[in-house]
Symmetry: C2
Subunit: 317 residues, 2 copies
Amino acid sequence: MSELVFGVDLGGTETKIGLVDEAGGIVGKRIIQSRVSDRSELLVTRIADTIAAMISQASVDQESVLGVGIGSPGSIDREKGVVLFSPNFPNWDNMELKQKIEEKTRLETFLENDANAFILGEWAFGKHAGSQNMIGITLGTGIGGGIISHGQLIIGADGFGGELGHVIVEPGGPLCGCGSHGCIEAIASAPSISRLASEVKKRFPESSMFRQGTTPSTKEIFQTASEGDVAAGIVLERVYTALSVAIGNYIHIFNPRYVVLGGGVSRAGKPLLDGIRDRVGRYTMTSFRDTCEIVLSELFEDAGIKGAASIVFYKLS
Amino acid sequence: MSELVFGVDLGGTETKIGLVDEAGGIVGKRIIQSRVSDRSELLVTRIADTIAAMISQASVDQESVLGVGIGSPGSIDREKGVVLFSPNFPNWDNMELKQKIEEKTRLETFLENDANAFILGEWAFGKHAGSQNMIGITLGTGIGGGIISHGQLIIGADGFGGELGHVIVEPGGPLCGCGSHGCIEAIASAPSISRLASEVKKRFPESSMFRQGTTPSTKEIFQTASEGDVAAGIVLERVYTALSVAIGNYIHIFNPRYVVLGGGVSRAGKPLLDGIRDRVGRYTMTSFRDTCEIVLSELFEDAGIKGAASIVFYKLS
C-alpha cells in the first residue's frame, strides 16, 4: 500500500492542504482561508480540523499516513513546531502548529521554513529528485534558500542556516530590509527589481517599462526587455549579475549538481535562465565548468504542497 | 592502548611526518625534503620509506596504528589517493601517494586537500574540537577553506566544494589567478595584501610601509598600521571588509558556531581578529548575532601534521 503524507502550504491569503503519495501525486486537496488578520489560534485550529476531516472523509487507512509536513514563511522552532515570527504576518506569531495538529490527528507533524520545503520538494519529487547535492533559490517577494549537501538539509548550529537571500553580492549596494546593504534580496526580489526599474526612470523617462506607471512589475520589466528596451535591459543586467555572483559563490562552496530556481520571479522563464547561465561562468573557476546545471522548478502550482509533504519523507528517510 | 595515526603535511620545501595520538599529542616526528623540483615518484618513495622506517624504529605495535592521513596542496583524487595537479608544484602532478604508501606500510591511507585538513584538525584537536558546525579559512599565499556542517566535511558532488578562496566579494574587483575578478584570494591572500599596498604608493609615497621597498610584506603592513600609518590602514580596511563580507555570507549560509582562521596571514593576530569582528556585524542579519565566534587557530607549528592526522580520525569516525 502506498504511503501518504499531508503537506500544508501556509500562505498569506490561503493555505493549501494536500494529501500526497510517495510519488508526489496529490490524492486529496483543500484550500482554506488564512488571512494575515487571522489570529494564530484560529488558524491553527482551522488547519488541524481540516486535516482531521480529510482523514475521516477520505477512505484512507490512518496507518498509511506517515505524518504532516508544514512549510511556513518566517522563522520557526523546529523542535516545538512553532512559527515564531513572520515579518509579514504579525498575527501569526507563536503559532503552535505541531502540538495542536498532533493532538487532533495523532499524526507526527514536522515544521520547516518554506524555502527549505521548496528544495526538499525538488529532492523528493522534482525533475532531479534524489540528487544529494542541490540548492534551491526562491525568487519572490523575498528571496529564500534551501541547501541539500551530501543528502543533508543544511540548517546549521541554531537552525538559521540556508539564509541565501541575505548573502551580500554588492557590498555597499542597495539597503535591504534586513538592515545590510547589497544583499541579493535587495537586488533580485520582485519588489527590488521593480525598485531598480523606477530608479532608472530619470535617465530613461521614455522607456516602455513605464507604460503603466513609475514602478513596473517584474513581468512588465521582462516583457519590455524582450522587446529590446535598453533601460529594462540595464535593470535585468544588474539582476542577472547579482544572481550569477551569488550562484557562482554557491558553486564554489557546495559543488552542487543542480541549482533550482523557483518563486514568482522564476516564471520569467527562459530569459532569466539564459541571463544567469550566460554570466555565471564569469564568476566561477574553470574547474567547476559543467559540474552544475541551473534549472527552473517544474513542480509549478502544487510546489508548495509537495514541498511541505516532502518534509515528512525527508525526516523519516 | 592509545590509537595512533600518521599525519603527513606535504609542503613546498619540506614535508613533515608525525605519529599522532588520539589526543593530538605528537609521539614521533620526521622532517624530509620535498623540493618543488623533486619528481613525484621520488617524493612518494621518500614519504613511504620514512613512514615504514618510523614504524619499525619506534616501538609501536602496528595494530595500534589506524592509518595515514595526508594533507596536500592542489587538487586531489580522494578515491585513488592521487595529487592530480598543484599550481605551484608542477613536478608533483599525478603523485600516487595512497597506492605506494599502502604497499610499503600496509596502512590505510587517506588524502585530503590541506585546507580541509586544517578544519578537520580543528574539529579533532582544536580549542573547539567536536563542534559539528565550523568553518576554517587559511590565509596564506593562497586562501583555502574547509567546512564542517552537521559533522560532515562539505566536498560536494565532485569533491571540489569548500573552495572558499574564490568566492567573489568585490564583483569587478582585482583580477585573481583563477581568472575571475574580486575573489577573496585576490584581496586578502599574503601576496594580494602586498599588492594592494604597492598600489597605494602613488597616493602615499611617504608611508612608512615602504621603508623596505615598494612591495611590503604583510608583516610590515600590519606593523605600520599599528603605528597609525594611514595608507596601511586603508589597505587593511579593504582586507578586513572583504573578509567580513565573505565570513558574513558563510554565517548566513551555514550558521556555524565557529569560524577558525589559520595560515601565515593569521599570525597578525589580534588586529586581524578585531578588524574582522568589528565589521562582520555590518554584513550579517541581527538574528545571527552571537551565534558564531571568529577565532584564530591555536594549533600553531604542528597544525599541518595534526590536520593531516585528523583526516584518518574523521574517516574512521
